[in-house]
């Protein structure tokens, strides 16, 4: 294998696949990137056996072939090469010689035949949607995923392609974020999956480099084909980035039943003002007493925080409200997370009593249900 490539193209390609490396000491090949040179491109592939990513970068191929090299080391070398012109040539014993300007590196690799191939699979369901939309949807729910490994079914984002719409949901048992978007889904294409948290992070990172993303899945795996345009193309990336991942197997909890139905008590709020109130009140809370109280009465919302270590805070906001006097305590982070992730200015905040969840809603079919903390 021998090819010439632009340094910045090479490093931007490596950057796409860099995060996916295996941690198993027994399989050092998983710390490597598979480089395959053919037909005017090199393709770069990494996998940790649960998740794999592949991208293609333009290159001047002088001799096609394949080799694997330690991806992190390769990335730090390529990033630091002195000249934009880089030549990579494979030698016997799986060595690679990298030449750029007056620098020459010889890097030990592992044969390409030992690299576990990304799984091919028959996609039973397949959808195309704009990358921007999917990215917004993911970001508006992904913070609510559980990180508690004992609740693995919640360690991911739930995708449900149902009649006429795509719904995304995430919950950790204390809060639930749900968003949906209208979409044509033919009856034989209905289906759902749980995307693992690690994959959610990678998909969020890769989205936004082009127009469309294609999602295909079956009962065990999901693939994202993320088209590359504009900036990505200028960076030497070609066509699309391909990501394939295992899915979390099991039944997602029936989250719909915990969404409160009655909506008699609610206030319209400016998203940023509300977030600021909560953030300020939370400044005096401590790890031990991480809670704030939200009280609404007589056209006023008061958000208070206190801890024995620091002191007290009382932040108020004028609102349009004439209902009963209600106080509910929340973990401030659980309110700030959705408020930060949203982009609309106006939100609706619903509540009922001190033991019932609070709900943040927007006009565009987003909602976040937050369970309260017991008032002492």
């Amino acid at each position: 294998m021998k090819f010439k490539i632009n340094r910045d193209h090479f490093s931007s390609g490596l950057q796409q696949v860099l995060n996916v490396v295996g941690s198993r000491a027994t399989m050092p090949i998983l710390s490597n990137v598979l480089i395959e040179a053919k037909d005017g491109f090199i393709s770069l592939t990494t996998t940790n056996l649960d998740l794999g990513i592949r991208c293609r970068v333009v290159a001047e191929i002088q001799e096609s072939g394949a080799l694997t090299l330690p991806v992190r080391k390769l990335f730090s070398i390529v990033k630091d090469l002195p000249s934009l012109e880089v030549e990579l040539e494979s030698h016997t014993n799986h060595q690679a010689k990298i030449t750029s300007g007056t620098s020459i590196f010889r890097i030990m690799g592992i044969g390409a035949d030992e690299f576990p191939p990304l799984p091919d699979f028959a996609d039973e369901h397949s959808f195309v949607l704009p990358q921007g939309d999917l990215l917004r949807m993911l970001k508006s729910v992904s913070y609510a995923q559980s990180t508690d490994e004992t609740r693995f079914i919640m360690n991911g984002v739930y995708f449900n392609f149902e009649e006429g719409k795509l719904t995304l949901a995430a919950t950790d048992g204390r809060r639930l974020a749900v968003t949906s978007r209208e979409m044509e889904v033919s009856p034989d294409n209905l289906g759902s999956l749980i995307l693992p948290a690690k994959t959610v992070g990678e998909v969020e990172r890769l989205l936004g480099q082009g127009d469309q993303v294609r999602i295909a899945f079956n009962e065990r795996q999901v693939a994202f084909e993320i088209s590359v345009g504009g900036e990505g193309k200028e960076g030497g990336l070609s066509e699309s980035i391909y990501l394939v991942s295992k899915i979390v197997e099991g039944n997602y909890p029936n989250y719909r039943q915990v969404i409160p139905k009655e909506t008699d008590l609610h206030v319209k709020l400016n998203r940023e003002s509300f977030a600021n109130c909560v953030r300020r009140a939370a400044l005096v809370t401590s790890e031990k007493s991480n809670s704030i109280k939200v009280r609404v009465h007589d056209n006023l919302m008061e958000v208070t925080g206190s801890s024995s270590e620091v002191g007290e805070a009382n932040v108020s906001l004028a609102i349009d409200y004439s209902g009963p006097d209600v106080t509910v305590a929340f973990n401030p982070g659980f309110l700030i997370d959705p408020l930060k992730a949203l982009s609309r200015d106006e939100i609706i905040f619903e509540f009922k009593d001190e033991l019932s969840p609070g709900v943040i809603r927007t006009q565009d079919s987003f909602l976040c249900v937050v369970m309260p903390l017991r008032l002492n």
Binding site: G173, Y255, Q257, S291, P372
Partner: protein, 352 residues
């Protein structure tokens, strides 16, 4: 590999012993702890109750049949946990390598602790009794499996050691049922082949074990029946931070020279983070410098990613703290405390 010294400490009827301690009136009666309703099961019971045939996990009605005057105490988990904390604190005075198996038993690796393991075990049991008025039994051996078997040998309130040179003789007559991982099912299968003791099982070749139990379990059994067990004592206490550092051959005189070291250190730290058994979010990052005069300083700030620019800033501030050159530089992260279940936080009820 040096010969390890492992102690297995097993509290004697832990829950029941606490109940008897706290209510001396029942101390000489058969006492069970567990479900007070007619349908519950015994969590555990004291030795007097065991003489009647009561066992843990036995339905309460069954236990009452065997022992009509059984005193049943409700489970007081918080109390047991508090006692377990005191006991673990004692362990840590002897070694950091403590692997709790449950509230009432733990493995200790005392290879590096000065003194005879036998004396250490005796001292630990003495201190447990002085602190909690509860008795413990101990097993001392070169590995976890043997230590656990040994702690059962002189129960209650006793200890037993299997010395390296005694292993062969000890295993010869040991029933296979005592081996780690050999349950009633495996034992029954072995019995069909006429194998009752580890000595008899030792006659089996790898090939025969593979055929009977599969390759992986077969290999494990081959070692276990010879008293071999390489499993380390695993400290489950989650680490609070992770860092990597480098002591330089020649002290670094300038800030620029220090800056030049950052990418390598961060690369190593990043690699170490990826090698962690599970993904954990960190909430702080820090830079540590040790100066030529051996004074150490650490500068940290909140962050959730390894941002090189941020480390540069921390480095600058740390560097400014001393006029001396730098002999050691380190970078690291501090992990967020695993969230304790918050009793005040209400949870969704997904069931039904």
């Amino acid at each position: 590999m040096t010969q390890r010294r492992i102690i297995h400490i097993d509290m004697d009827c832990f829950y029941a012993a606490i109940e008897c301690r706290d209510d001396p009136a029942v101390a000489d009666k058969p006492v069970g702890v567990g479900g007070s309703s007619g349908r519950g099961v015994l969590t555990t019971c004291n030795y007097i109750a065991r003489e009647y045939g009561c066992r843990s996990a036995m339905p309460v009605f069954k236990a009452r049949e065997l022992c009509p005057h059984l005193v049943l105490k409700p489970v007081r988990f918080e109390v047991y946990k508090a006692e377990a904390r005191k006991i673990r604190k004692i362990f840590r005075d002897f070694t950091d390598l403590v692997e709790p198996l449950s509230l009432d038993e733990a493995f200790l690796d005392v290879t590096e602790t000065p003194g005879y393991a036998w004396q250490i075990a005796r001292e630990i049991r003495k201190r447990i009794f002085a602190t909690t008025r509860l008795t413990a039994s101990a097993g001392i051996a070169p590995n976890k499996m043997l230590a656990k078997i040994a702690s059962d040998w002189r129960k209650p309130n006793g200890q037993f050691a299997v010395l390296p040179e005694e292993i062969a003789a000890f295993m010869e007559t040991l029933p296979v049922r005592k081996l780690w991982g050999v349950g009633p099912k495996s034992a029954a299968r072995l019995a069909e082949w006429g194998v009752e003791t580890c000595g008899q099982l030792q006659a089996w070749t790898h090939t025969r074990l593979h055929a009977a139990f599969g390759e992986k379990w077969g290999d494990t059994l081959y070692d276990l029946c010879r008293g071999r067990d390489e499993r380390p004592v695993e400290v489950s206490r989650p680490r609070k931070s992770l860092s990597t550092e480098n002591t330089f051959n020649r002290n670094l005189e300038t800030l620029d020279a220090c800056r030049a070291q950052l990418p390598t250190l961060l690369g190593d730290l990043d690699a170490d983070l990826r090698r962690q058994p599970s993904v954990r979010n960190f909430h702080k990052v820090f830079v540590k410098l040790k100066f030529a005069n051996f004074r150490t300083t650490t500068k940290e700030c909140p962050a959730t990613t390894l941002d090189e620019a941020l480390f540069q800033r921390l480095l600058e501030e740390a560097f400014e703290r001393s006029p001396h050159s730098v002999r050691l530089m380190g970078v690291g992260v501090r992990f967020a405390e695993p969230a304790l279940p918050d009793r005040d936080q209400l949870q969704f009820d997904f069931a039904s």
